[in-house]
């Protein structure tokens, strides 16, 4: 029987010949990811009677949500986590400033084809960019995996999204993802495994593919998968932490939903307040005044995102009275952007550059908006209150549009500044 990616990998992990959607399987994941929530998970682990974790090498612990610590309380949280990893012998630990957890999993060769990654973070599907089965889970079930090494998973239905053609110049995978989320809505892939197929996907660099798998969390997906190809294998060459075996969906696998899109028809898109599926073409939103522009996050804080913004900002200035915040997704991105001269461009344009991490994305620190202010951001969420106050609005867009809007002081297309 031909199987989808999800059916195939969960069968393999559960040591079954096949699985069907709706089936419950018990598996041991290859990687478990936790971030600043590692300390509260440790508390739950102890309440379960846990002393030593099931397998310290399974863990990836990455501090990113509020780093460097904005308050004593946050700092105490980090301190507990540092003690925890030391005490448990966890070596895959990334302290403040190394980068955002999803970016680090990929960069450090921990996100591998054919492996199962579970993270106590809703954007864990990001790692599906490398051909892994990656899904977000809650804190208590994370603690339970730490203790017993196992978790129940429901085999998801699968959605096949085929994207043909070529994205027009200036249109990114962010626009493609927002367009599809706008069409299928926030629950369009609820509980499903979203597989990306088609020549337009294969033509994307890995960083832009990651924007797609990352954003599928906003369509309710359990995981999102892109077939590993030569680009993936080249990237992993001196990076993969261990040998791996890629898993591909079968040719005639049965999908609950199949969608087809033509990349050539996609234009720059904006997710408007206060939901990610409230998507409009940039042409309809142009001219909306903004107070702050934010370039960064796991969705769009990589080198080519910074490059696209730097190209727009070269020789220009942020509009008077407006602000722009830039946060590279990792230390490696930061260094590469420094060497490429992008950071100089940002500084000369009047932007503020901050250390790698999630920053103001979920309202923790480093540039949260004031009451009544409007932000345009490259992030993945714009829910009411997301950036700190419910009395503010957040628009989501691609890096070039965010940069152009910072220069114009209003939402603007890069060609019109």
């Amino acid at each position: 029987m031909p199987l989808t990616f999800a059916e195939k990998i969960l069968a393999k992990k559960a040591q079954l010949p096949k699985t069907v959607p709706g089936q419950i399987v018990e598996i041991t994941p290859d990687v478990v990811l936790s971030h600043d929530n590692t300390a509260p998970i440790y508390g739950l682990f102890q309440r379960m009677g846990g002393v030593k974790v099931y397998n310290p090498d399974m863990h990836a612990v990455i501090l990113d949500h509020a780093t460097p610590a904005p308050s004593t309380k946050h700092a105490e949280n980090h301190r507990v986590i540092r003690e925890f990893v030391k005490e448990q012998g966890i070596t895959n630990f990334y302290d403040i400033g190394k980068g955002i957890c999803h970016q680090i999993l990929v960069e450090s060769g921990l996100a591998l084809p054919g492996e199962v990654i579970l993270g106590s973070d809703s954007h864990t599907p990001h790692a599906g960019v490398m051909g892994a089965f990656a899904a977000g889970i809650g804190r208590t079930e994370m603690a339970s995996i730490w203790a017993i090494g196992q978790i129940w998973l429901r085999v998801p239905e699968s959605m096949k999204i085929t994207v043909n053609g070529t994205l027009p110049i200036g249109v990114t995978s962010k626009d493609l993802a927002l367009y599809i989320i706008g069409e299928l809505k926030a629950d369009g892939a609820l509980y499903m495994s979203v597989e990306w197929h088609g020549e337009a996907i294969g033509a994307l660099p890995l960083s832009q593919r990651a924007t797609l798998t990352n954003l599928m969390a906003e369509m309710g997906a359990k995981n999102s998968y892109i077939s590993p190809d030569q680009l993936t294998f080249n990237y992993l060459k001196d990076r993969a932490r261990r040998d791996f075996e890629a898993i591909y969906p079968d040719e005639n696998a049965r999908y609950a939903v199949e969608m087809e899109y033509d990349a050539g028809t996609i234009e720059p898109m904006i997710a408007c307040p206060h939901t990610v599926d409230n998507v409009k073409p940039l042409s309809e939103v142009k001219g909306t005044p903004i107070d702050q522009a934010f370039l960064g996050t796991c969705t769009n804080g990589r080198l080519d995102d910074l490059a696209a913004a730097a190209e727009v900002l070269e020789g220009k200035k942020i509009a008077p009275g407006k602000r722009m915040i830039v946060i590279p997704a990792s230390e490696a991105v930061y260094l590469a952007a420094l060497q490429a001269g992008y950071l100089e461009t940002f500084l000369k344009a009047g932007a503020v550059i901050e250390s790698p991490g999630c920053g103001p994305c979920m309202g923790n620190h480093m540039g949260v908006p004031a009451v009544g202010e409007v932000s345009i951001s490259t992030a993945n969420r714009n829910f009411r209150g997301r950036m700190g106050t419910k009395e503010s609005e957040v628009y989501l867009a691609s890096p070039a549009v965010v940069a152009a809007s910072a220069v114009a002081g209003e939402i603007q297309h890069p060609k019109d500044i």
Partner: protein
């Protein structure tokens, strides 16, 4: 646990975890006992002060979408909310409910019929909701999950499994 009787707090579609439990508190409020006071803060400021044990939340499609933060479930389970009935749940939220032994019931017909503020009855064992508009049935939990639910949540379940291994 089999029977729940409570007043209904009814909300709409796509209620996300940022409005159920604001992200800015995720690393500053760590004691579960303190969480109910922030429940639904950005959605319904009257909820935290007015909720009574066994009250039932009724939501539309995709209840609990967004961040995986479990506080968005714990702030309700600690407030002794009896159950959440929705047209559909975001999957991590759904899992978090079961792991905290908070009944998460998918029943679109009941959601349409139930009025805000009315008192309803839920029989978990029989999979039945009784409200002013009539009676509605919902499918029981999968067996594998029922075990966790019956243990009183995943903490107790894992505790027992760890003890059994020793």
């Amino acid at each position: 646990m089999a029977n729940i009787q409570g007043r209904v707090w009814k909300y709409g579609d796509s209620i996300n975890t940022d409005v159920i439990f604001p992200g800015k508190f995720t690393y500053t409020v760590s004691d579960p006992k303190e969480m109910p006071q922030y429940a639904l803060e950005d959605l319904d400021p009257k909820f935290a002060g007015g909720v009574q044990p066994q009250d039932v939340i009724v939501g539309g499609r995709n209840w609990g979408c967004g961040s995986s933060r479990e506080q968005a479930v714990v702030c309700l389970s600690e407030a002794k909310v009896g159950a959440i009935i929705a047209k559909s749940f975001a999957r991590i939220y759904y899992r978090n409910c079961l792991n905290n032994a908070l009944p998460a019931i998918v029943c679109p017909e009941a959601v349409e019929a139930i009025q805000n503020g009315e008192t309803i009855n839920i029989n978990l064992k029989e999979g039945k909701i009784i409200c002013a508009a009539g009676e509605f049935n919902f499918p029981p939990l999968p067996e594998a999950v029922m075990e966790i639910f019956n243990a009183g949540g995943l903490i107790e379940y894992t505790k027992k499994r760890l003890e059994a291994e020793e």
